[in-house]
Structures are given as C-alpha cells and as structure tokens.
C-alpha cells in the first residue's frame, strides 16, 4: 500500500507544482511564457525540453509569439546546453544570462501594440544567428505602436 501511494503520489505532487503552484506565484492574469534556448540549430522553443525528448526530437521554433495589448508577461527562460543570453532590445530589456539548466525570469508589460524582437545576445554556438523570434502584440491604435 505504501509503495503504491509513493508510486502515485510523487507524480501527482510534481504535476500539481507545474500546473497550479507555479501559476499562483504570479499575479492573476499574468501571461507565463516558457522559452528554451537550444544551441544546436539555434532554436528558441516554447516546447518543454526534457531528458525524454532532447536527444531525438527537433523542437518547433518559436518564431512568433502572440500577445495582447495590456498583457503582463513573465518569460521563464531556460537553456539546455550552453550559456545563452536573452534580450528584447526595443524594451531595453536585458541582456540577461541564461546558464544551462537554470531558470531565469524576465518580466515586461505589453502596453503597446507592435512587434518586439527577442534574441540571444551572445555568440553561443555556430547556430547562434538562428536564436531570435518576435512577440506580436495585438490591439490598440497602430500609431501607438513601438
């Protein structure tokens, strides 16, 4: 019985942390975006990269990430291989180091519509130029755009 409790309880506990406890860390309505940098291929991806899929599956590149005007955004940055660096130049956000295996958070408010380019700020690998993408902030008046 104890063994069965352990076998079922541990994954449930971890699932609870990911699905509920993590969300409650931030103010209600916060948009949480997970971005993982992969040096090989030069990819930012929103997919979860774990031991299980890292070695055989090529993740989808996060080229465009839709946001709505007024969103409070928390970007949780991960690296699965080398030291990367994250920046959104238009917001003067970063560069912040993203060491391998660590989780680094950056926050910003999408208070104007427009396009925000994000990128890896340091030459991390031969595929470094591929490490970029865009936040597309919808809504509001076009003249208020960045």
């Amino acid at each position: 019985m104890a063994v069965i409790l352990v076998l079922l309880g541990l994954p449930l506990l971890l699932w609870y942390w990911r699905s509920d406890a993590l969300v409650h860390r931030y103010p209600p309505g916060t948009k949480i975006i997970n971005l993982t940098a992969i040096a090989h291929g030069g990819i930012w991806t929103r997919e979860e990269i774990a031991g299980l899929n890292y070695w055989w599956k090529k993740p989808t590149r996060a080229t465009e990430i839709p946001l709505n005007e007024g969103d409070h955004v928390v970007v949780r940055l991960h690296s699965v291989d080398v030291l990367h660096s994250f920046a959104i130049p238009l917001l003067h956000l970063g560069p912040v180091d993203v060491p391998a295996g660590h989780t680094v958070e950056v926050k910003f408010n999408a208070d104007r519509p427009g396009v925000l380019t994000f990128l890896c700020w340091q030459v991390c690998s031969p595929d470094h130029p591929g490490l970029h993408g865009r936040f597309l902030v919808k809504g509001g008046e076009p003249e208020e755009s960045w």
Binding site: A50, V80, A100, G101, T103
Partner: protein, 494 residues
Amino acid sequence: MAPVVALRGEVMAKLTSQVTAPVEVPPQAWRFDVFARWPRLKRLVQMRSFQFLVIVPNLLLFYLFLIAGLFGTPVGNKNIIIVFVWILWWVVLIALMVPFGSRVWCTMCPLPFFGDWLQRRAVVKVRPGKSPGTANTFFGLHKRWPKSLSNIWLQNFGFLLLATFSALLVTRPIVSAMVFGLLILIAAIMALVYRLRTFCNYVCPISGFLSLYSMTSAVELRSVDKEECLKCKSKACIRGSDKGWACPWNIYMGKLDRNNYCGLCFECVKSCPNDNISLFVRPFGTSDVVLRGYDEVWKACIMLVLALTYSVMLLGPWGRFKDWANISEAHDWSGFGLFATGQALLALVIFPGLYYLSIRLAKWYARADAVPTKELFLKYAYMLVPMGLLAWIAFSVPLLMVNGSYIISVISDPLGWGMDLFHTADFPWKPLRPEWVPFVQAPILLAGLYFGLKGLHKVGCQLFPDAAQRHRSLVPPAVLLLGVTAVFLKLFVG
C-alpha cells in the same frame, strides 16, 4: 591393534603437518562481535520489516531519479539523477559503504525490490512452504540459473560495457534513467523465471564490483561458531524457515568465509534457530584474501584499468580523450572506436597479460615448481583488490570536492524546472579546496599500495613456507603493483 593404528595416525598427522603446514602461520585476525556488544542492533535487523524500511527511502528517491531522468532537464549538473547518483551516491558507496560496510548497499538497494515482491508476493512477511531447495513458498518458475553462467563474467562484461558509454551515462539524465529502468525490469523478469536473487548474484554490474571490493571491508557477517553450523540440521540460513526467507544469495553460513557473495540482507540472522549469526568488525584490507576463479581475477583487472581510464577521461587534461568518449556530441566514431577497443584491450588482455607475466616471473625467480601457475595466478591477484578500491576512492573523492556544490543547488530544484524548495537553487558551483586534491589522492593511493602488498605477503605466507622463496616470489607482482601506483601518482599528482 587399536593403539598401533592410533600411533601410526598420530605420526602420519605429524608428518603431514610438517610437509604441508607453512612455517610462518599468519596469526588469526581479531574480530569484534557487534551484535554481542549491541544486542539492540541485532533486534533491529531481526525485525521482519527491517529491510523494507531501509529500502523504502531509496525506492522513493530512485523513483524521483527516474522521473527526473525522463522529465527533468537534460542538463546533467542540474538534474538530481546525475548529481545524486554519480556524485553523491557513487562517492558514498565506494569511499564509505564498501570499506566500512561491505555490501551494505545491497541491504538497501531498490533495484531488486519488485523482483523480490513478485517472487515472494510479500514485502515483509515470510511464507513457509516447500519450494524446491527451500523451506519457503516462492512464486514464479523457480528455475535454476545455468551452471556455465554461475560466475561473474556477465557482470564483468556488463560493467565494461557500461564503462565504455560512461561519458554518456554519467552526464545524460535520460541514459542513466534508461539504464536503471532496464536493470529494474531485468531484475523483476529474472525473479519470475529464476530462483532467489539470480540477478544480483550473476547479472547486476554494480553487484559485480561490490562483490570484489567487499573482500577488503572492515565488517563481515559470519556464523559465531562454525561447529554449531555443522551440527545444525535445519540449515535455515540457506533454506529459510518460518522466521526468515531462504538466503536470496544462496549461501550456507557454515561455509561462508568471504564477503563476496553475501548481500547483507540479514535473513539468516532472523532464521537461524541457534542464534549463531553475527556481524563482526575485522581488520580492513587483509581479511578475505582469496580469489577463487579467473572471473574474479579479471574483475580485479577490469576495475583497476577502468579506474585509470576514468581518471584519464574525466579528470585528465586531455580534451581529445574526452571527445573520443563523448560520442553523442563529438560524433567522432573512429575516435570512440579507438577508445572502446583500447579500453577493452587494456582491461581484458594487456593488463591481465602483464599480471600473468609477473606470475611467471615470480614462479621462475622463486623456483616454485611445486606451486601450479594457476594457483599462484589466482591467489596473488588479491593484491589488485585493495589497490583497485583505493584507486577508485582516489578518483572519486575529487568528484565530491569539485562538484559537491551541485548537490546543494539540485536539492532545491531536483528536476531543473525552476523550483526553489530550500532557496538554494542558485547556489553557485564552488569547488571545495581543489588545490588539496592531489594531497588527498596521493595518500589514498599509497594506502592502496600498502594494503595490496600486505595482502600479497599474507597470501605468500600461505603458499610458501620458506621465507627466502616466498620473498623471491613476491618481487615481480610487487613490482607490477608499484608500477601501477606510479602510473596513478603521475596521473593524479603530476
């Protein structure tokens, strides 16, 4: 006639003892009866739930490790399976558990847990019965393991295979998780097909080296009085009883004289009707000095060579060797082939060949025609056991000194998901006194040399009554051991 016969027998016995008994009989080693001194400890291990209680925390951790390997970050130094298994567990196992606790890891190992469960259909209680060869009821096919495989060759090749891919095994969480998952599965399947713990005895690669190095350990589980065992009719230690399961390692305590294949499950302590089994403390390094087969000699050679190649690959400054071993990233297949072939040749052919050469030289130099080469080859090989263990410890301690700070960080974020349970997730990598590493390694290696030579001398005393002949026979293997120590010292200290 009777007195004449008795007299003749006495004379014959005297003559025989003069011919066969060594001139210099090594004194009987001291041993200290732990259970007699601390009976509470005995009562603790006699509890039916004892082994379950020590396995459960490891089972829980192990389960977490498997989850972390599959679903945690692929970054090794931020994943608990890599940090806890290959930094913490490995160092504790090789530097503390084996020298001071023999095979105490086998007492708490979670790998055979499900196999035992399937075989016994019980976690704590005992099932008396009449399964073949035992006084218990076992489930499954209960077949005998083939006699041709009743040795540690499979464990030798299994460990060598794992070592060949060790650069992946000790850095990639998924590889570690898959290997441990596979071992649990194999253990469970084997428990359903074969009797007792066949997996632990003949297949588990960890058990293989534990069996060898437990010979050096400062503790042993033995019968208090061997005569009592000979008189015992129930043989409950090996057959089991209503108080304890039949020995999972298939050991009769009346004949047990080495630690190698005793997994310290303490079932015999529970089942012995004469209360004749106890745990003893004994001198480290020179108590069990007999290797009994080529499989064990090759295990000693393989382990010593692997301690060397691991040190070159993981601690050495040669980037090319690291790239050869690190096939998943460097993709240098010819280099990997060279590394794998070179390591296997060194472990299976070259080093055993050098050892054989030293034995031939020993035989020639000592003019020891009466002692068969095989006997000398098997018995003198013990010198490689303490040397190998202490070389592994010398290799492993720096792992903890240099990378121990990862443990503090990973405790807070075991899966690399961004948790911070104890607010230490961002604890930086801080090597602990790295400048001391050579000063820690050198004395450990020299201790290995000392115990190796001491063991060699003890075996020599058993083989050669004549001191001059004995000393001549010791020279070539001792030179080999000195050479091995010099190579390690050069590697570690420079």
